[in-house]
Amino acid sequence: MKLWQEANSLTVGVVRVNASVIDWIRELVGEQAAASGTLAEAVMVDSEMRGELALLAGKTLLNRGSLEQAAELLAEAGKHLVDPARKAELAGQLLALAKAWTKRQDVTDRSTREEKALRGAAEASSVQALPALAQYFQRHKRLPEAIEQWREAIRLGPQEANHYLNLGRVYEQSGQPQEALAVYLDLMEVAPTARNYLVVAQRLDGLASALPEARPDQTVKIALLGSGTLDHLQSYLKVECYRAGLRPRMYQCGFDQYMQDILNPQSELYAFAPDGVICAVHASRLFPRIHHYPFDMPVEERRADMEEGLGTVQTLLDTLTQRSSALVLLHNMVAPQHPALGIQDWRDELGQTEMFAQINARLAEMVRTRYKNVYLVDEDRVQARAGKARATDPRLWLTARMGWSDAVLPGLAREYLRYLKPYKALSRKCIVVDLDRTLWGGVVGEDGMGGIQLGPDAPGNAFVAFQRELERLWRRGVLLAISTKNNEEDVLPVFEQHPNMVLKLSHFAARRINWDSKAANICDIARELNIGLDSLVFLDDNPVERAEVRAKVPQVLTVELPTDPAYYRDALLELDVFDTLALTEEDRRRNQLYAEQKARRDFEAAQETSFGSLEAYLAELQIAIEIDLANDQTLPRIAQLTNKTNQFNLTTRRYTEAQIGEMQAGGAQVYGARVTDRFGDNGLVGVAIVMPQTETSGTWDIDTLLLSCRVMGRGVETALLAFLADQARQSGIDRLRGWYLPTAKNSPVKDCYQRHGFSMVERRLDGAELWELVLSERAVAAPSWLVVRTPPALVA
């Protein structure tokens, strides 16, 4: 109390010398002060006023260096102040007090006092003071508390990049690298700025060795070759790989050393054994004269220069694809923004713009017709999307030979991921959509079919455009499904009768029209379609539904749909998660396949009671399986299946077409199995690859045995194994051996070999099992209910 009185007199002392402060206090104190005549008495009855004065006094004492007294008064102020602006001021004073304590070497418990001040500041204004408090804990190695405070700081200021970087650092320090990674990836979602890409890339380098070893299907080795400085491209690509769930290892050629790396068989490039090779060579290196002043050259010379540059590319690709089976991503050429002859360019025969168009067309043709594993990266389009005027920065080119600015690097890195994702089986297969305010405007249950927005005029045309885009993806083989909180009788007539509906019920492979939780419905849909949750994309206008799905089934990609339906279509187009490396016959027919599948399920349900046994039911399905060696027509599909099949896959080995070709050349037999039944053609759905064992003669190793999930449970694998046994016997082979390599998804085939009479000969610590069948001792017979056909050439 004594101190308090002292403070009051002190405050009065201060206000005396400052007339404007006196006015301010008068205004606050008002009538009461006037009536009582003394400031101090008024203060005693008004809590907020008491706080004000304590703050003012505390501030004065702090400036004078009386820290202990200032601390007491500021604490007093904290008890009374309510006004947010005043509390923010108090927090500022307490932060200053905390800082002042750190400098008081003479006080032994200064750090306790500092903490107290910081806690008080955080109480007065969390946004302002939490970072300082978190840093205090970080400095004193009180990591759990630092984590707690940084998390709270992020909750309050989700846009503050430094909070994430600090939290990530604390997780790293406390030996939680996976949590650190998650925080850095959160930051990239919130603020994908140039600084954050570069800083996070740096952090990821430090983190890589601390993270637990990744599964093989999550790792990727990428080599970057090119003619400029590639370091920043590598940083952006690294970040994008982690965002896509991949753990990259990177190799980068020396400055402008792409040619040496490819041509020298002993180069570091080949020693690195990349899964993917990116070739980003600038047009000025491959087509120097055409790039600079083609107008000096007669047309024949221009043609000759084009051929020369294209010839160089072909030589490089020939060599690269012979020595490596990696996926190659070749940049096309970016036409100069300012044609050499200005507006005359198009009048000039084979002018510069025309030449670049021809070069790019020829590159595309070369890649398409000559190589199985080379893909063209359309850098010209990627730059155009970013804005060519901003995509390059002359300062960076002139000072550091950096060919891209931060305006285009994220787009370029993401473009590579469009190839790497399907290569690593990370593409999405199915879109689950909501209906009201998503497929059409309005709520059909309330507005009626006539009242919803869907038609040729705005805003209904935004929904038509969105539906068209969904339909286009459907034509490419992406599955569609409905999840809506609605009544069937309100919703179904829209599909059947509304004249402007692009999507009909037949477009949807599954639908859940009910009032259950969307997360539950989505899991149900995944089960019905027999695909993983990580194959799904969820589109819903309602942020509450999105939050529920995101929280309960994080494997599903829940898209932040824009609030304005005009941008729905763009949001869908920007996703880039549905790409496949080859558009196979099976992709184009997938929708029909699923319609047939639905008929099968209905058949199954109808027959469940009338069939005495499963076998009788399967016999009724009239399954026929056709097995043949891989050929040019079937190879793309076979490679695709090795890359996307997860459940029925004994070894989950991923191969490119080129790698399978290499295995064939090395003596492997690659078989594809096509399955038909009474409802239609399932397409090529099974793959078996056998290798003659080199160490033990008379043995075949089953390198790969897989089935698409849509034909699981029908004895197709038995027919395949019986076929392999037959082939082996005819070749004088007595033993079939095969590994079961467990993954997160292939437990359905854990007992596959056991069921077929194989015996286990080896079991490793990681759960891998080697199974063997001695053909002279045990036979495998194809199930009686299905017909197996093989081409005559295969029957000896």
Binding site: A194, R195, V199, Q202, T229, M402
Partner: protein, 82 residues
């Protein structure tokens, strides 16, 4: 003075992140000569990160001159960053 200290701290923070070092290992007068991680690539990366953070753009003449923490801060100040 307050603004300058803050600018130094913010710059140091970016530096530490880009160089993969602790802020405490970057004294106020740290320069390309005294810091082994400050190579030409890290130099460019640092400048681009600073441009992004402070919403400014350094000229081709300034870039090679910004070889110490005080020099960087003085260029930032000339650019009106506070």
């Amino acid at each position: 003075m307050q603004a300058r200290t803050e600018l130094v701290d913010q710059t140091r923070e970016v530096m530490a992140s880009i160089f993969g070092m602790d802020e405490s290992d970057l004294p106020d007068d740290v320069s390309q000569k005294t810091c082994s991680r400050w190579d030409s690539l890290h130099h460019m990366t640092l400048l681009l990160a600073l441009e992004d953070q402070f919403g400014t753009s350094f000229s081709m003449d300034e870039m090679p001159e910004m070889t110490s923490l005080p020099k960087i801060v003085s260029v930032l100040e000339q650019h009106g960053v506070a």
